[in-house]
């Protein structure tokens, strides 16, 4: 049991650490561009003081660049804020649109580092599920991390949803390299712990080159049902 708790805590902390490190790196990049833009304006003003004419177009370019970086920083901090608030409640109704958008937002830079493109393929319906928002983000990241490794030559991972009456499937598509990697590498104990907490399962579709993360519509209901099945079979 203690071992299980250790894995749980380490998995949670590692996920938080990985995401915040990536976010802080991105914020630093934004700050560097704003910092140099300020420096460039200073250069222009020094040139103007010396009587050199400054083309207003150049000023406009700098101003647009700063505005663009502020927008970028706003998106990054929104993601960080949403991630931070995902631990507020252990169980709540979460929209899968927001969940997947946040997952992709958090993973974007890490995907860029691996030259992998992430694509949200919008389904007809984005339902809500009752689950642990933080652990769901954590598990989606783990699957996404593996899916990026399994993206093969195509270097693209698609995300879409399939909704059933009792469950929802998050499908990770376009995994051209799935064959060689699947058997030994995934899922590991870390994912197994998260799957158990969320009442989730992971399947593969080798023909379609996809991984399916199956989530119950209501995690509490699912866990109660499986508990009563176990008790009855005892």
């Amino acid at each position: 049991m203690n071992r299980q708790l250790d894995i749980e805590m380490a998995t949670e902390l590692r996920f938080f650490g990985k995401m915040t490190a990536s976010i802080s790196h991105e914020i630093k990049n934004v700050m560097a561009i704003i910092n140099e833009s300020a420096g460039l304006l200073e250069d222009y003003s020094l040139m103007a003081e010396k009587g050199m004419p400054i083309d207003p177009v150049r000023l406009k370019v700098v101003s647009e660049r700063v505005a663009k970086q502020i927008q970028r920083a706003d998106g990054i901090t929104k993601n960080l804020n949403n991630l931070a608030h995902s631990v507020d409640e252990f169980k709540k109704s979460v929209g899968l649109r927001e969940t997947l958008e946040l997952a992709l937002g958090l993973a974007q830079r890490l995907a860029d580092m691996r030259s992998v493109t992430l694509e949200l393929q919008p389904p007809s319906d984005f339902p809500n599920v009752i689950t642990s928002p933080f652990h769901l983000q954590n598990l989606i990241w783990h699957v996404l991390d593996f899916a990026m490794d399994a993206s093969g030559e195509g270097k693209t991972v698609g995300l879409t949803l399939e909704t059933g009456p009792e469950s929802v499937e998050i499908r990770f598509t376009g995994l051209e390299g799935l064959t060689n990697l699947w058997e030994t590498a995934f899922p590991t104990k870390k994912e197994a712990v998260l799957m158990e907490m969320l009442g989730a399962t992971i399947h593969r579709d080798m023909n379609a080159r996809e991984i399916h993360l199956v989530l119950p519509r209501d995690v509490q209901q699912q866990l109660t049902d499986s508990q009563s099945i176990t008790e009855n079979s005892d």
Binding site: A21, S24, H25, E26, K28, N29, M31, A32, I33, I34, N35, E36, S37, G39, L40, D43, R65, K68, Q69, D112, M113, R114, S115
Partner: protein
Amino acid sequence: MEKVLLVDDEKEFLEIMAERMSARDMNVTTTTSPKDALKKAQEENYDAIILDLMMPEMDGLETLKELKKNNPDLQVILLTGHATIQKGVEAMKLGATDLLEKPADLKVLTEKIKKAHTKKMVLVQKKTEEKIRHILAEKGW
């Protein structure tokens, strides 16, 4: 005039840095690709290479290793978003001239580039002297 190669995956950062450094009489070439940087470093003779530590395609340390393998005298200054002490030590062990954290002060970076240029000149001079000494010894003049 110092000849500098700037390598960073942030295109806008490269554009502004290139404009600012050119205004300070530096001859600046930029690339967002570490692989392209390796190619450029073999084709051209740079006084300093400014390299981002975290990039797609190739990790900054890996790029540094390759650059130094191809030309051990190359002066490489690492510029990074967040440098852990471990990464910094590793970079220095691999032969980096210096390491700066973003956002960096251009004045400081310019000084480091000038120092790198001087260091390179000293190394070139030493090598030339060694070559002459070798020729003299060989020919027995």
